[in-house]
Symmetry: D3
Subunit: 321 residues, 6 copies
């Protein structure tokens, strides 16, 4: 998607310019992984116009493989972001109806070929929320990935406003989740996308385990919002036996929180692809997520070394020269 | 519409920012007239969101009355403008499908009330090209205006790409034109919107006169494009008897030609509302059009005095202090 | 006034650009109310030049009625604002001598006509501080408003530097205050403009009540400045019987505190025009004031819904999408 | 003075930012000479505030000696510049009433000390037009300079709008001109400031010679304005015997013509201080003037080498690397 | 290289910001070809730091394959570009001593592998001018390319200032040229790099043919500089029998001429790779070169369709919508 | 040095522009003192190009005397600064190899003449770290200063990465320090530059006193980094008898910490030149250092009055008008 935002801290109503960025949940994960040195291919539909090409160039400049992108349709999805600050919240206005991505279709992709040689497939709950054909495309991909033995992660990412095409999340999401190994989600996600209702995360995880036996890890981030510029954040991981908790970070100067969940996801994938232990992976992922809050744009332009330094608490706040 | 353009002379593909402007053919005429001191009301549909409000604020800050704007729908039409320069042409990409304006409907407006007390109604051929309901709305307005005795001007403005809703211009436009007093158009407009085919402007005007007896003036601008930054421009006016020609201007440093036809139209309306003679009106209108090329944005922010100075050739190029 | 400020956090001495805004105490109140949906007319003098017109356009784009503005004189008042940050304070340099506003004159305005149909009149202590004729004009307006039965609010806003035309505030202000219903002020205001001296707000209010029986409400904000970017703020209201206190907010990322008192005033007027109770009104007003600190420029571009959310503590710091 | 201009080609009414520059006729000459390697001292009054200091810093960064500047008064003169383009003219709005410079006074300066060791004194007709005390100060300086044997140049620079303090130019200017060696001026300057009326430059020069025997050179530039971006320019010099003419340059992409007369003056002074012949000096001066049109701001940031290259026609339009 | 330039038309001495671009002769050719749809690999050395990565990202976003780039060394070559305008020339200051590219070494590259499967190799005379090891690397590449049967083009690009490492161009260039099929150059290139001296291009080409029998085409552009913003340009091509001449274009609003020779080269390569006739290829190449002058930055962001339209004279200066 | 930094909070890899500043440890001290009203001369080498001139203009506009600057060499040292924020640290990349300053040489300067009439000489440990000739030049200056009876201060400023020319700091620094009166440094400085090893500051100071009897004061700042935007800072001073401690400040909105040590140094010099007591001097210096964190760029653009207000806690965070 193309993201258009007035220079912070201007409001939409007073803006004379938009800053242009490109992003989207799965794309952000791919870029983040590419900056960690992991070869990443992003599969989507983009329109055959200058903005489709600009989105592709954004991905390429961030080292994501774009060979599988399908260029069709006439418009790119847009979202407008108004940066909040202090007690004024950030706001997003979507303008994605009839985008190339909404019109994505299972017939466009030969997943066996696309996934050939890959070791991991990641999807987000945004995709099946957009349209039936997007949901179908996502399901095809997941099923093929499973058949080919890839590890599969899904970020549930339930947003009530998105589900507009006549299906409820609970009708669509379970079959996608049932084929996944790892999910990110919290209690509202579980309720709305998996019909798992519980006031307690650990308890909910146990119920999910019974209902979705393929799932081996469940991760969630805990964000406490003091206000738009000041949050506390940590993450927790259910490994089928225990609930691991990460360090909590206090973010007092948030630059851009969009994409921070994707940064967390990328950190998890990086850790597990590196065969790190769960706790180590979780600490890396939350530190990546923390750093994302300091980078303008949707994507997390940080290196493994930078995340590692934050995990170890080395050089934090120093002037590195 | 919201207009988004990279800072000149950047291309879309390299843009990191868009400059935000608001415009649209009839809106531009209204703003121009307001800057000439003529009370102008703009009637349209805008979405009920921040960008609809920003468009309204743009009109208000330019002294256009916005009381009759209908706030409905969820998106504002967008067009992307890439400024050309020298041998590289300017380009426009439209993104207006499903905009509030496309979904405008005749039932939204009580034209007798809206037009009460007005002396002039202006419409452009962009509106009936957008959708059937927009064409119907436009027709309602014109018919009511005629009934109430307003003078009616129409800018034919034929653009092949716009007519996408299943009707050809020749099926829709004649009934709108038949109720108008004054039109702006050239040979391709006549052929495509009025089925009047002729290689000669004067001859075409004579044919139009026969077919559309209500029309009393036909105006056209002549633009010779040396390249994107360098044009020559003049206008001509058929007054049912003679073809009047304006002075020709050579524009060597074009800043922004979007809206220059609307500036011409506003100049004509101003002259005729002032009861000027046709030649005087034509010279004022082409000078207004010339000045529009120097003003960034869609609208012509110039005063009657400034246009008058150019007509008289006073102070051109001087440093006024 | 025209406000010129280097982009934050640059100092005057290093600035290469000024950002242009328009504001002024009463204008800010009018804009704020207009954004709350309250029809507001602003009465002033502006010069007959481009900057006078730009100030008018600013008001119009913010839905303030400008029909009563008197265009005379040759210069617009200017103030230069250097944004402070952290331990460096913000600074204002005034350049308003001989402005159109300073030369405002009682003979320019027919207050009976202007105030016809209005329900509220607001004035600020800045106006009588500028010149004798401004004080006289203000007094005329207040007296007429009282005669016509409007509610009258005054923001005392005592600033020692402003009173340069040979009168002390204590010679001018009492007659203006004596005709008002509601005032905003604190202990230094009371001492310098009303000759009411007391170390205690409640006690001072009681003395004011005796001296100025027309006054029904006295409001004051309490600001604790940790530094330029970090303040704590709350408000209190004397209702002739009790001292009501609002919630206190901690502002850790102040963007622009100019106009925050005007935002508070507008919040109070909105609440009372809505016939809310005093406590409800006070909470709404302080929340409006808090949000103003996040909006660049003098005026508070927030809606009733946004203020209401903050009062209720809903969605604070969330990413709204 | 502080110059505030919207980014070209924006109009005042649409500006959101001003670019800040500093300039003024005599200051511009001093800066230009300093960039030519000539030690230059600028004498003026500036206010004791941040903008007075910023003006001083501007001069210092351009190597002008500022030791003789008198810091008094409370405001710096401002002028607003709207850049014209193509058929739209540039405009200047002055806001200099009551500036530190207007209040300059002869008692502030000990000219014998200030001019000690100097070889040239330059003044412009702007100064005596501002106020009686400015005229008196200028006269003191010229008389002292003459006494000390300096060469004295004056740029007549007659502007009708400036003479507002009750004197006509013809009452003040003759005594200043009578003590000068070299003047820049054209027929309107001669008529309004010297009561010399003639339709012909050579004839006028002869009359001046008789009336003002101290004058040894009279220079004028000839500017033909096609429009704001396109001028032709040349200069001519009367040496008491012959009228020398410079090469004519065609300027098709004018960036900023403010200060181009000052650039010409500086070129003349440089040539004569270098003991060049008149024709050589004139060619250098007009080439300096031509280059000024390409430099944003009031001052001519070019070197002797660059001017020399243009005179010789070397490397014009080349990419120098 | 990293290119840093003040926003046009500012001078270095007044700049407060640099715009960042990346370019270099061969890289520009590669990018241009990639935008024409030709798979292009760029081989170079870049430093292992953020600016090396940024240069790589620039290439990737422009679809150039970067797999063969060697990351070594500590600094990226910089050049500073001051944009000229009108009679003020553009200037370049190089700061490339000890750059990663200067220290490039033949041992870093296995040319047989790199060139495997390629059909064309292009080099520029800048490379052998930088250092002995760069010259050696270039020679290795050319010899291998020849052995593998690739077509080889060289842009002679003689710049006196560059040859600083102790060798003259005439000692190095002949062996590189002798292995090439196609060269771009003019009389000074022939004299300084091939010891071919002649006052006439055709005659010089005949001499080159005898001395360098491998060369089948010699191309040169003819640029007439009216000034920095206004040039006339055309190209000519010697095909061993005749001198073909292209159309001449008049460029009156040059935005950025850096890289225009590289755009010409890319146009030639595209035409010949498409098996077009020489005249057709030449017209395409000069039109590509013309369009480059309108694109900010070093690289030519235009499509085959856009170049083709200019060749045909279709839509020049139109507003494309 | 020229400092190039992406607009905060952008990362290097995403930057499209650099903001240009000039600075360097000793230059920053000179500028700061000049803004305190102390005549300051800066002695260095700058290249003979536009950037050397721009650096000189920067100093001049800040009132530093530049007459002793030696213009030689071809490049200016550059450093690239990426502003950190929150948990992301700031980073500096140096590009100063072969700069004019690295090639500085003792033979360029006649220190007896340069220091004639001066009362204080300040040097920083950066200089001797750059090259042997820079160390020699620094030593010459110090020795001469001592001979002439100036007070001498040195900021040890040990940075491991800088010492690349074959000497260790411990081989060079002791002789420079031995001739100084006042030093700024902490435990790592003492160990690496003076071979004084101790875990305790007071104890280390005592050892230094024995080894370097000329030293009368040792100052160090204590910085606690919560993260890049949030530090706590204080300073301490060993006066040969006692360890004085300053107030601690909490900086929660750091704009630019580069040069804050130089601001501290300038505060110390100012206090001692004013013959203030040590505690008063220390409080002034730390307050100057605190304010530097709010000023973008390397230099501390604050006045004595502003620092004094912070020391007294007057008006902190107020809107000064």
């Amino acid at each position: 998607m193309m993201r258009l935002s007035p220079p912070s801290p201007e409001r939409f109503i007073q803006a004379k310019q938009f800053e242009i960025n490109f992003g989207g949940s799965e794309a952000n994960v791919a870029v983040s992984l590419a900056h960690f040195g992991i070869g990443s291919t992003f599969v989507t539909c983009l329109p055959e116009n200058d903005f489709g090409k600009a989105a592709e160039a954004h991905l390429q400049s961030n080292k994501v493989v774009t060979e599988q992108i399908n260029f069709r349709g006439s418009r790119i999805g847009i979202y407008f972001l108004e940066h909040g600050v202090d007690h004024r919240s950030s706001r997003v206005l979507y303008d994605r109806a009839d985008s190339a991505f909404e019109n994505i279709d299972p017939t466009y992709f030969k997943w066996e070929e696309i996934l050939d040689g890959a070791s991991w497939f990641h999807w987000s709950g945004i995709t099946p929320a957009i349209s039936q054909s997007a949901a179908d495309t996502c399901y095809d991909a997941i099923r093929t990935a499973r058949k080919l033995g890839l590890r599969i992660s899904g970020d549930i990412n339930y947003r009530r406003n998105l589900w507009q095409y006549g299906k409820r999340a609970n009708e669509i999401m379970p079959s996608l989740i049932a084929e996944s190994d790892i999910i990110i989600g919290g209690l509202p996600d579980f309720e709305n996308c998996m019909s798992v209702i519980s006031p307690d995360f650990t308890d909910a995880c146990k119920k999910i385990q019974q209902k979705y036996p393929s799932i081996t890890k469940i991760v969630n981030s805990n964000r406490e919002s003091i206000h738009a510029s000041h949050n506390k954040i940590s993450a927790m991981l259910w490994d089928k036996h225990n609930l691991l908790k990460s360090k909590e970070y206090e973010l007092t100067h948030i630059v851009d929180r969009v994409g921070s969940g994707d940064a967390l996801m990328a950190g998890l994938i990086y850790g597990w692809l590196s065969n790190w232990k769960d706790q180590e992976t979780l600490e890396f992922a939350i530190a990546a997520c923390v750093l994302k809050h300091t980078v303008p744009g949707d994507v997390n332009l940080v290196s493994v070394e930078e995340v590692g330094s934050l995990v170890k608490g080395v050089n934090v706040g120093k002037l590195l020269r």
